[in-house]
């Protein structure tokens, strides 16, 4: 039962003007895979290092397995970590690097060999086991760091962007490998990434950090589908969520929003906000595009056409508002052409334009 409870963790680095983590509280149940995402400098590494015991918090506590570890050294916490900078040992061969933790824990020789071989196999490192790190590519070094971390039996696995240095193909391959490995190990894991796809596909839950605070935490689909504020919607997903400035109108028992000069059907629950300005959040893939005029559709003009292979990404102009729209690859259009957009009200999210927080509109 290696659950992690982080309470009110505050840390300001010496010389830092604002806290790197600002009253962060988290409960990570045993065996959960939590993904941390957030813009550069938002405090992900700092949080991870505090859980690892490499950094002492200014305030707050950390419990692992119900034990208060806030003031224990890293060695006493039984955690394992992949460093953002790899931190593999250049004077040791790959084999010794991967077996380092096992060797320190006095695991018998043949057991070490067995587990090193297994970790190396999982990460495609079998051919380079007898090399020194200087003779490896960046991606191989990173995999050595991952292999070293999964070779030991730790209560908690901390990974700081462990796949960042792999090419797209390898990353995709290792993403599924990693998911399998961590599932087998069943270790409670905190995983930091910049990669949207990794965050969505790996995590049991995703926590979005911003300026040292948790902006939202929840299952990936929920965070993606119902961003708690505009920042999360704009950060997760590529392209980011569209936000349309609009005004709520209601008449004849039906809610509508006025976008530019055009009107759009909205969920009925919005009637309570009649007359107020709102920001309508909508994902690019939830906008339907047609090249023929339709009743209730928004007229827009195509500005940019970007085929991505599996889809075509359109940048369109709607009464002076720019929108990203995703269409099937079969949709043929050109810059300057008119298109008509329809949006299912159930995909619309509404935000307060002042606070950027989601409005309570059950859809």
């Amino acid at each position: 039962m290696a659950d992690i409870i982080v309470s009110d963790l505050v840390k300001t680095h010496p010389g830092g003007r604002r806290p790197a983590t600002d009253h962060i509280s988290l409960h990570i149940p045993d065996g959960e895979f939590l993904v941390l995402v957030g813009p550069s400098g938002c405090g992900k590494t700092t949080l991870l290092r505090m859980v690892a015991g490499l950094e002492t918090p200014d305030a707050g506590t950390i419990h692992i397995r119900g034990r208060d570890v806030t003031h224990l050294s890293a060695r006493q916490r039984n955690v394992s970590m992949v460093f953002q900078s790899y931190a593999i040992f250049p004077h040791m061969r790959v084999r010794a690097n991967i077996g380092f933790g096992l060797m320190l824990h006095k695991v018998p020789k043949d057991e070490i060999n067995r587990r090193v071989a297994r970790a190396a196999e999982l990460l495609n490192l079998t051919d380079v086991l007898d090399r020194h790190p200087a003779q490896l590519s960046g991606g191989q070094r990173q995999r050595v760091a991952v292999a070293r971390a999964i070779a030991v039996d730790a209560d908690v696995l901390l990974m700081d962007e462990p796949l960042s240095n792999l090419d797209a193909l390898l990353r995709l391959q290792f993403r599924s490998e990693l998911k399998k490995i961590v599932n087998q190990l069943g270790t409670t894991t905190i995983y930091v990434t910049h990669d949207q796809a990794e965050a969505m596909s790996l995590g049991d839950r995703v926590a979005v950090l911003r300026d040292g605070r948790i902006a939202q935490i929840g299952p990936p689909i929920e965070v993606y589908d119902r961003p708690a504020d505009q920042f999360v919607g704009g950060f997760l997903g590529s392209p980011p969520m569209n936000f349309l400035p609009a005004t709520v109108e209601s008449g004849a028992g039906q809610a509508r929003v006025l976008v530019g000069t055009q009107r759009l059907a909205a969920p009925g629950q919005l009637t309570g906000f009649a007359g107020r300005p709102v920001s309508v959040g909508i994902r690019a893939e939830n906008i339907n595009v047609s090249d023929t005029a339709r009743d209730g559709a928004l007229a827009a003009q195509v500005e940019v056409v970007e085929p991505t292979g599996s889809a075509v990404l359109l940048t369109v102009q709607l009464d002076g508002i720019q929108l990203k729209v995703q269409t099937p690859p079969s949709f043929a259009t050109q810059p300057g052409k008119p298109v008509w957009l329809t949006i299912d009200p159930k995909h619309m999210r509404f935000y307060d334009p002042d606070t950027a927080l989601a409005l309570e509109v059950a859809a």
Partner: protein, 287 residues
């Protein structure tokens, strides 16, 4: 590493560039040879004189090749009163200084490299300042102090002086070396179960060893060559340079060459012994 692992060297695309590069390589080689010859010539001449018969030294023109080799000069020098004990004293002082300055300097260098503490910058500056004092200025009050404490005319006195002289460089070199070993490697070692001492011994020390060897080499050679302080602080327990210096005026030419040779050889041997560590340092930092 097998040859197959290392990529073939990149071939210059155009012949013109290739020729230019080759000439440059030749130039570099020639420059290296010139510097080596410049450094080696005095060593060679001293060795030649020390290993020839005393008569051949007075011959004109002097032969530049070892035509009549003999150990006569060296033998008479080494059997001369006080030379062998002085040689032993020098070894004791050199090794003692080496051990003491590494024992004190290593932790200091580590602290400078890893921790921010009050007065850190002032400390660094202060250390350099100790080198600003001439040895003579230091030695006289030290002689006074050692006379009152009964340390005067012992190898300990010289070891203490040489350690004081060597410490600033030891501390600065080792701190630079420790800075070169990223801190997160130590942290990684601790995450995987190492105590701070284990992390230092298993991760930092192996990588710092070449630098520490360089600092030690420097210390030993400095101590071996230091003459002024050693001459002031001792009377009977002279180190070799002090012994040679004090008898220099009243000794024949052969004695001087033999003394010079006896001073050079151990330092060269020491460098040769340390070579492995020095090379591996360059090997890793140049990679």
């Amino acid at each position: 590493m097998t040859p197959a692992d290392t990529p073939a060297p990149h071939k210059p695309a155009r012949a013109g560039r290739g020729r230019g590069a080759r000439w440059r390589a030749v130039g570099v080689q020639l420059a290296c040879l010139a510097v080596t010859a410049f450094m080696f010539a005095p060593v060679y001449l001293v060795a030649l004189a020390a290993l020839s018969t005393p008569e051949s030294l007075n011959r004109f023109p002097l032969s530049l090749l070892p035509t009549d080799v003999s150990v006569e000069t060296m033998a008479s020098f080494l059997t001369m009163g006080g030379v062998l004990p002085a040689f032993v004293n020098s070894l004791i002082v050199g090794v003692g200084t080496l051990v003491l300055s590494v024992l004190i300097g290593l932790p200091a260098g580590y602290a400078l490299a890893r921790y921010v503490f009050a007065g850190r910058d002032a400390y660094q500056l202060f250390m350099l300042l100790t080198r600003a004092l001439p040895i003579v200025v230091l030695s006289v009050p030290l002689a006074q102090l050692f006379l009152t404490t009964g340390l005067y005319d012992t190898t300990y006195a010289v070891i203490l002086l040489h350690t004081a002289l060597a410490l600033p460089t030891t501390v600065l070199i080792t701190s630079a070396v420790f800075v070169g070993v990223p801190r997160d490697q130590e942290e990684a070692a601790q995450i995987f179960g190492a105590t701070p001492v284990q992390a230092f011994v298993r991760v930092v020390l192996p990588q710092a060893l070449p630098g520490i060897a360089a600092a030690g080499l420097f210390t030993f050679v400095t101590s071996w060559n230091e003459v002024l302080g050693a001459a002031i602080l001792t009377l009977d327990r002279r180190t070799l340079p002090a012994q040679v210096l004090s008898t220099l005026g009243a000794s024949p030419l052969t004695y001087r060459f033999a003394g010079g040779f006896a001073l050079i050889v151990p330092a060269l041997v020491f460098v040769a012994l340390m070579r492995k560590y020095l090379l591996s340092m360059w090997g890793t930092t140049l990679r």
